[in-house]
């Protein structure tokens, strides 16, 4: 496999992850308040079941699988919400897209969205593995982006961050497959970008919440990462101890679990940030929905904090073991393939 094919496969996977296409509506439609004020009143309207210790019950198996992009597409600039009619259109489009994928075997070439992709590039047809987003329950929202607000985009990078990321990219150019450390953290099964904040994944956007007095444990299915969040308002661990997912400390504000996470490693899995601070809010708004809100800040990375919101919907099923590292043939094969490509290139140039 050539570098270009590998790159296009990875890019395609990223496109799938960012796919806007909609699907068969789930039984539950998540709340999509039109304004922040309405959010507040919507979350106060319903009283969640309480656990024996008096705290709201967030337990269960859930998904935040969605078609909503993190950032608002340019074509929708200024439009924070779809109408109900537009949402139904989206759902029909997604249903149609899945139908075409399943019957024709792969997405039509001109919809692949991969820059420079050609007819003989490999396309992942996730649907044949049951991993197409639309084959799992979707948590619908009328939002046009997960990021809230009039812009709906990640704020600009600081000049320092721009420079730093450019330097990293420049250094990596031509060395993308030299060794395991050059590949994304997710491909190395070290950490994923969808744990803190709790963003949807390309597939397996599943999680399980188990609570005991003083703790809320959230297990995300991918890599089987668990965050055990103390809710006794304790202080964070010492500042020199840095972790991939930071150190979470929670407390209850009425019926909302508020989680403050600091102590992220400088090699944060989240978009290259080096000093991340994430605040999350979990509020159960009806029988089958948790409203998840988050704010991300890193003054060295972005010019201002940014916030997002998405529904988490209940699913009927269990979390499966995702033994990422134990079966990480992908990483070994990627490196092996690169070595073969180098040997082939050397042979061809020697001719």
């Amino acid at each position: 496999m050539t570098y270009r094919s590998l790159a296009s496969v990875i890019a395609f996977a990223a496109v799938i992850a960012a796919s806007m296409l909609a699907q068969i509506p789930a039984a539950v439609q998540a709340q999509s308040p039109a304004t922040p004020a309405k959010t507040a009143s919507a979350t106060r309207a319903w009283t969640p079941p309480l656990l024996p210790d008096g705290k709201p019950d967030l337990q269960g198996v859930w998904t935040n699988n969605t078609v909503t992009d993190l950032e608002r597409p340019k074509a929708l600039a200024g439009k924070e919400f779809y109408t109900e009619a537009e949402l139904k259109d989206l759902q029909n489009q997604e249903r149609q897209r899945l139908y075409v994928t399943e019957t024709e075997g792969q997405p039509p070439a001109n919809h692949s969205g991969v820059e420079g992709a050609g007819a003989d590039d490999v396309h992942y047809d996730f649907s044949q593995f049951g991993l197409d987003r639309a084959q799992a329950k979707l948590a619908w929202s009328r939002r046009t982006s997960i990021i809230v607000g009039p812009e709906g985009t990640i704020p600009p990078l600081t000049p320092d961050a721009r420079k730093r990321l450019a330097e990293i990219r420049a250094k990596a150019k031509g060395h993308e497959f030299d060794g395991p450390e050059m590949l994304p953290l997710g491909a190395r099964c070290i950490a994923r970008v969808n744990v803190v904040p709790l963003l949807p994944s390309a597939y397996n956007s599943n999680l399980q919440i188990v609570q005991s007095a003083g703790y809320v444990a959230i297990e995300t299915e991918e890599i089987h990462d668990v965050r055990v969040i103390p809710t006794d308002g304790r202080s964070h661990i010492p500042g020199n101890i840095r972790q991939w997912y930071g150190d979470p400390v929670g407390h209850w504000e009425g019926n909302t679990l508020v989680v403050d996470t600091t102590n992220f490693t400088e090699m944060s899995p989240f978009r290259g940030a080096q000093n991340l601070h994430v605040i999350e809010r979990f509020t159960r708004v009806d029988q089958d929905t948790i409203l998840y809100q988050f704010t991300v800040e890193d003054p060295g990375m972005w010019t201002k904090a940014w916030s997002g919101e998405l529904p988490i919907t209940r699913i009927n099923g269990q979390i499966y073991e995702y033994a990422c590292h134990e079966a990480n043939y992908g990483l070994a094969d990627t490196l092996r393939g690169a070595r073969v490509a180098e040997t082939d290139a050397a042979k061809n140039s020697a001719k």
Partner: protein, 262 residues
């Protein structure tokens, strides 16, 4: 009057409690009335080095000298010896001789049950009415014990499938459907995919749980056998699990040979 008191004293049970026969301690209850095992716990022994009794020995890495030598331990196996079938003893010896190449712990693979319990890292029990989640510091391993009606495993897995129930003060966990790829320790003790483990967690004091695991695998052992050990509560203020996401630390070992040569 004194006569009555004497009779009462004679009739009262006066068994001096031995270590093995303390009357069951009654641990505080959760809000839903079950023994509360929530907290951060850790085994304090050398079971992960070798379940059977063992003397100290040199470690596998010369440059680490005494730092990574094998510490001694009395062993945690009831009857001291693991009852391998005669046909299986060769494989155990081979495993033991080649353990640094074969032990899945070296590669940071998920440990399975019961090894997850006595790895030298803490774990946290988050106990809820319908589920008991155990988060292990090692490799971010986790399992969720179903406390409702028992369910069947959807597939085999590294950490197996756990169904639990209460017997008085004891949490009993039935673990099935583990892959054959895990070991019991760093000494090559192994099993097949027919492994069946039954664990018992019995609180002895507010900060000690007596842990037992009965291990059954007719493909490898001539009879079921049992391990037992205390688990100690981590009582430091604000004790919490930290990350030991070890795939990163095993990366050079696993993928170094595939690195581009300069």
């Amino acid at each position: 009057m004194m006569g009555w008191i004497a009779v009462i004293c004679v009739l009262s049970p006066a068994a001096a409690p031995s270590v093995a026969q303390v009357s069951p301690y009654r641990v505080p209850r959760t809000a839903d009335g079950k023994p509360n095992l929530s907290g951060i716990w850790q085994a304090l022994n050398t079971a992960d080095w070798d379940l059977e009794g063992h003397a100290a020995a040199a470690g596998p890495v010369t440059s680490l000298g005494a730092v990574f030598a094998k510490p001694p331990g009395l062993g945690v196996v009831e009857g001291d010896e693991i009852p391998y079938l005669p046909a299986m003893t060769t494989r155990k010896k081979d495993n033991q001789t080649n353990w640094t190449k074969l032990d899945p712990e070296v590669k940071c693979y998920l440990p399975g049950v019961p090894r997850a319990t006595y790895l030298p890292y803490p774990f946290q029990i988050v106990q809820s009415q319908n589920n008991v989640l155990i988060s292990y510091e090692y490799a971010g391993a986790v399992r969720v014990i179903n406390m409702g009606a028992p369910t069947k495993a959807p597939a085999d897995s590294w950490m197996g499938w756990s169904n639990g129930h209460w017997e008085g003060e004891t949490l009993v966990v039935d673990v099935t459907s583990q892959l054959e790829d895990t070991w019991f320790d760093r000494s090559g003790n192994f099993h097949s995919d027919a492994l069946h483990v039954v664990e018992r967690y019995t609180p002895r004091t507010p900060d000690i749980i007596d842990y037992e695991a009965t291990i059954e695998d007719p493909n490898v052992f001539s009879r079921p056998w049992k391990i037992s050990m205390p688990l100690y509560r981590r009582v430091e203020k604000n004790a919490r699990l930290l990350e030991f996401k070890c795939p990163e630390f095993a990366e050079e070992l696993l993928y170094g040979p595939l690195r581009k040569k300069d």
